[in-house]
Assembly symmetry: C2
Homo-oligomer: 345 residues x 2
């Protein structure tokens, strides 16, 4: 297994990327190709990690002189920064120089680059970002969470299939329950987009192709009930960030409750270990990142503020995605996933 890492993208690049890569190579035996400015990568390896002569086992470097910033316009950067770590890395992925790709850089540029370079799977209308949201049942896949603000019913139906394959192949759950994110459980709820999508998913369910359980409300994404939550990228993004914000708000309130005075500080120390499980559960650094589904090769978007541990997990996740067979699933079933097929039934 060989994973390509954009060493220059992200708030803590290249430090977090270089450290995370060496962790993944050591812990999981994954080969990692670091793409970026060789001098900067070497500096991290030498000064921070103490590798002076040879590269760490399993690590190689591919030079890319340019860096994509968070401010770069996604549409232009792919054409104009051809020697960026992002573009060089995606070309390497396309040409078979690795089994998957991880970047913590500019999300829009990664989406555009993945669509233009390794490209979408033939027949897939849009690629979708699909993070696993922590919940009472071990997590639900939210697809899409921001790649496509405007969606059609067909896009959402394709997201349902791709999410379903992911949950089965990567999370190992048989017959994943697919819920459509809406403002109520009744079929009549939602906008025209949800109402049309409901019909498509119901028909796929009737044909035994998808385990559609109906609409799911924002609350039940967290409390459980569905393994895959299908949303347009606008709504999915608002929900994802609302969940993140609520968790940050509550964790902050807990911290400040224990910071009041000497007694509360002591109490805080006493329960710290007990609350760690909660912190871990809400923590993305164990998951790694968000899969971009619908591309011909495994692509993982790690959070912009990813640390070394998160990059390590994202590399493991890219490896799991590559091994899972989900891209083969999508490719083999593309006729089922197309709107004409489902309509015809």
């Amino acid at each position: 297994m060989k994973i390509i890492v954009d060493a220059m993208g992200g708030d803590f690049a290249p430090k977090a990327q270089v450290e995370g890569a060496t962790m993944a190579a050591q812990e999981f035996g994954i080969e990692v190709v670091l793409v970026g400015r060789r001098a900067q990568i070497m500096e991290e390896l030498e000064e921070e990690l103490g590798y002076h002569k040879a590269l760490p086992q399993g690590i190689s470097i591919v030079e890319a002189s340019e860096v994509v910033t968070m401010e770069d316009d996604p549409a232009r950067v792919i054409r104009e920064k051809k020697d960026s770590s992002l573009v060089v890395g995606l070309n390497l992925l396309k040409d078979g120089g690795g089994d998957g790709f991880v970047s913590a850089g500019n999300t829009g540029a990664l989406l555009t680059g993945a669509t233009l370079i390794p490209k979408r799977i033939r027949g897939i209308r849009r690629a979708a970002l699909s993070p696993v949201i922590p919940n009472r049942e071990g997590g639900a896949l939210l697809i899409d969470c921001g790649a496509n603000a405007e969606c059609t019913p067909e896009y959402l139906m394709q997201f349902a299939y791709m999410g379903s394959y992911y949950v089965r192949r990567v999370l190992g759950r048989e017959n994943p329950r697919v819920g459509l994110l809406s403002n109520g459980t009744e079929e009549s709820k939602g906008t025209a987009l949800q109402q049309e999508t409901y019909k498509l998913l119901q028909s796929a369910h009737g044909a035994g192709k998808l385990n559609f359980i109906g609409n799911i409300e924002g609350r039940d994404v967290l409390l459980g009930g569905a393994d895959v939550v299908v949303a347009d990228g606008f709504t999915g993004n608002v929900l994802l960030k609302g969940i993140e914000g609520t968790a940050m708000f509550i964790m902050g309130e807990i911290r400040s409750a224990f910071r009041q005075n000497a007694v509360t500080k002591l109490k805080g120390l006493l329960v710290k270990k007990n609350l760690r499980g909660l912190k871990n559960k809400m923590d993305v650094s164990e998951v790694g990142g968000t899969a971009l589904l619908g591309i011909t090769k495994p692509v993982i978007k790690a959070h912009g503020n990813a640390d070394a541990r998160t990059i390590r997990s994202a590399i493991r996740q890219a490896g799991a995605l590559a091994k899972s067979g989900i891209i083969e699933d999508i490719t083999a079933n593309i006729d089922t996933i197309s709107i004409k097929q489902t309509d015809g039934e």
Copy 2:
């Protein structure tokens, strides 16, 4: 101040309604008209609260023989259950028999009833549900959170004005910051709805009529930055329920962390008092309910599972809304709030 309460709507009706009404009458000196089945209301007063001969001070009863259930179709119920506590209560409100109305019953029926009986303020296109979301800055008003799944830019612009008046008049904040809920802060983010609304709000800001601060992401609704968060009812509902679900999930995880064994239970007891502040902050029972803005009279929707304390707070909130002058604000500025006026600038 006299507030009309739908005594029969809600999971714990009429018990919670009757108890909440007596609490509000005692604590705040608000007169409360309980609308519903007199016999059932009297039974609560006699058996639960020990009032045998006379009604509690400030409490009166208006008979209504029918009850709207959660399953009733909103469009039909207003025509067909004319002697329901909801319809009788709203007619009483319209005819000046009270200064505001509180119901914990069927939300759709309340929305339809409020629109058909006391009616919308002339020129307001849609009424909107607007709860206060707890956050780091003492809360933000989310408008709309479910009354209107499909919206136009004009609806959203009107929500921005109504929310702004509410925050100023009821929450007492001068020059409320209005944010448009989107999937990114840049003007280009969102769907066509958000992009068009952005222009309207920017123009209103330029004319000095509204303090529009641009797009706001789901995360910052919780972390702070805006006093009013403008959304279509579909997205607002998903966000609101996502926040509720996340809070319930985290609180549940904290509880179970302290339930592991005798030692953790002891620790839990020790920190219970310290975490109570957090629980209260996330608790809606102190706020009461959600204002339905855009109607000619103050209407408060309390949560279906409202207990007596929540009903008490909702009655206080209806009183505050009636005193605030916000309906007068909307009426006086209706030309400003109409789309032609803003377009013409």
